[in-house]
Amino acid sequence: MIDELELLRRHIYATVGSDPDLEPVRRRLVTAIDEEAEAAPASRRLSGGPHRLGRRAALSFGSLVAVGVAAAVVALLVVAAPPAPHSTPRKTTEPFPSHLPVGDQLRLIADRVVEQPIPHLQADQLLFTRANLSVAATVNDGAAQATIGLSVEKWSTASGQTCTTLTAQPAQFASPSEQAAWVGLHLLVTPNPPMANQCLQEGGAAAPPDAITGAGQLIDVSSLPTDPSTLAREFESGTTGIPALDQLLSDEAAPNLAFQRAAMLLIGPTVGASPQFAAALFQVIALLPGVTALGPTTTHDGEIGQGFASGPGTGQSTIVVDPSTGQLLEVRGLDDSDSLSSIAVNYLGGGSMLVNGYSAQLQWLDPIGSPSVIGLSDLPDGLPVYVFATTKPGLSYNDASTSVNHVTQPYFSFFKSSQSQNTDPSNPNSPDVFQWSFAGPGPVVDQFIQTLRASGLFASVSEI
């Protein structure tokens, strides 16, 4: 009897054979190599050596593969290139001086963070981030409780649009009685469907302040100061000017709000950060009263980093970071009451009238890898296409709705959803953001976008 990996191994070997003809593939590569070698200055080219291709390379000139085709393929591939392995910072092999005072430890990490590159997002690119997390859900003021595992994937554009895919695992219970209480409220143990997709436009419709898990958007931090003292004051007073940060628990007197705000920016996704700003986040934490060092700390994914808590004892917020790079490995104990906002309905099983309220506490969040920059074409197939259009200045919803309805009427049957909201909710005369979703990309979406642009109603039209 063999185990399943060995069975799979045999299956693969038996299926694909063992002696493929690689020469056609090799010829394509050698063509590209030859092009680069020809383009390189003569001084850069070596004059041969024991590992040169030599004759095989020389024979490849005038290969069957057309140069133009190869160049086009390469042009595509530059966009499609995945993050290089070293984009995920490696652990340092040097021991971290955990014996130092906590402030010195954090400043030491900041010194290393400032040397790390920051992904730069172009207009036609997306910032892709992933995380696994665990949330403690409480229904009807504690009548039922469960632990929910979530996987979150986010794709964000530089202009502030963010698509989120939230996948929920079956609810876990501490005891059979807790499960009975959950089921007694007609809640589902296995969410149906298990996935929620959502796309948001910054400043547009449905923009909750939960930047952590559910529908959180890309946070533009370019306006924030890099001076640690100034930034710490803004974190403590909630005056950063960024709603996702300032509105965090605005109705509760949590003692560690500044720590949580710094942690939220470590989670991201963010845009507009400089290495100096990334380092300043650690310098800010070093300035906060009560912060303690936990020493080497193991995450739920099994990684080991340096842990820092917002204060002594349990019930505090905690971050675990790779001390060699500052890469966040885990966050624990953040208050995120909207954690389940996008997925909660999937546990209702068609609508339980017995649920009159719920709350959620983020137990831990483990980012998966580092944020990576990808091309628009790398969006997965399962996501719907969202089209966003902002009316011209001075054109409010009331002014525009009739015309917009007229323009979009031929496409009504293709819409999966549509909504709109003022760019400034406090001003009904502010420009309006319209949002439509389609099941997927295609000529209808392209035509729809052209129609919107030709209408003269909108200052901007974009898709994600």
């Binding site: 390189a40 590992h51 095989r56 393929v73 995945p82 070293h86 994914d301 890898g369 074409s377």
Partner: protein
């Protein structure tokens, strides 16, 4: 550079002498091809492998030369190109998924899965189980079983933490075992424990 240069050394040399990169191809093309061949449609395999190596060539300056072997890096790129060719794999997986959901008597073996395997029943059983696996588990299982990568190498290939690799591989194996033998009759001659960090899965 020693008598037999490492991949890292070849990568470094290829920055000045691009033709050195062809030796990287010669070393690893077969392994990459095997990995891709199992996941792509037959007609797309060469294109995917070619794209993967061209991408690697164009981005070789970003290769982390702290690692001697470039194979995990190449397989990671190949995985990404496969995902980029989603329509290619999508057709295949759709077929597999349809097969997985069909009654036993209506199961139509996917063309590449069926090819070259003597034991059609076992092929069907494995194909059906693979089709039902979550993508996250499938990537890791195929890198472990098809390319014999270690935990650390899989983590490098996919850009995920090694802890995630360990947990997903353990869960993927458990899930695959369940799918291979829903009735629980399948017995293993090895315990289903997580191997050591440095070890090779399985």
């Amino acid at each position: 550079m020693g008598v037999t240069p490492t991949d890292a050394e070849l990568m470094a040399a290829s920055l000045h002498d691009p033709q050195q990169f062809a030796l990287i191809f010669d070393r690893h093309a077969r392994a990459v091809h095997r990995y891709v061949a199992f996941r792509a449609n037959l007609g797309d395999v060469d294109d995917v492998v070619s794209e993967a190596f061209l991408t690697a060539f164009r981005t070789r300056a970003r290769y982390d030369r702290a690692y001697d072997s470039a194979l995990p890096w190449l397989l990671g790129i190949a995985t990404h190109v496969l995902n980029h060719h989603r329509r290619s794999e999508g057709r295949r997986l759709t077929r597999l998924r349809a097969a997985a959901q069909a009654p036993e008597t209506e199961f139509d073996l996917a063309e590449t899965v069926a090819a070259g395997v003597d034991d059609a029943a076992e092929t069907e059983r494995v194909a059906r189980a693979l089709a039902r696996l979550d993508d996250r588990y499938r990537d890791i299982l195929l890198l472990a079983a098809g390319a014999d990568l270690t935990y650390d190498e899989i983590a490098r290939a996919l850009g995920i933490p090694i802890g995630t690799v360990r947990s997903r591989l353990a869960r993927g194996r458990r899930r695959l075992r369940e799918l291979l033998d829903p009735g629980g009759q399948h017995k293993s001659d090895r315990p289903y424990v997580t191997p050591s960090t440095e070890g090779t899965p399985g």
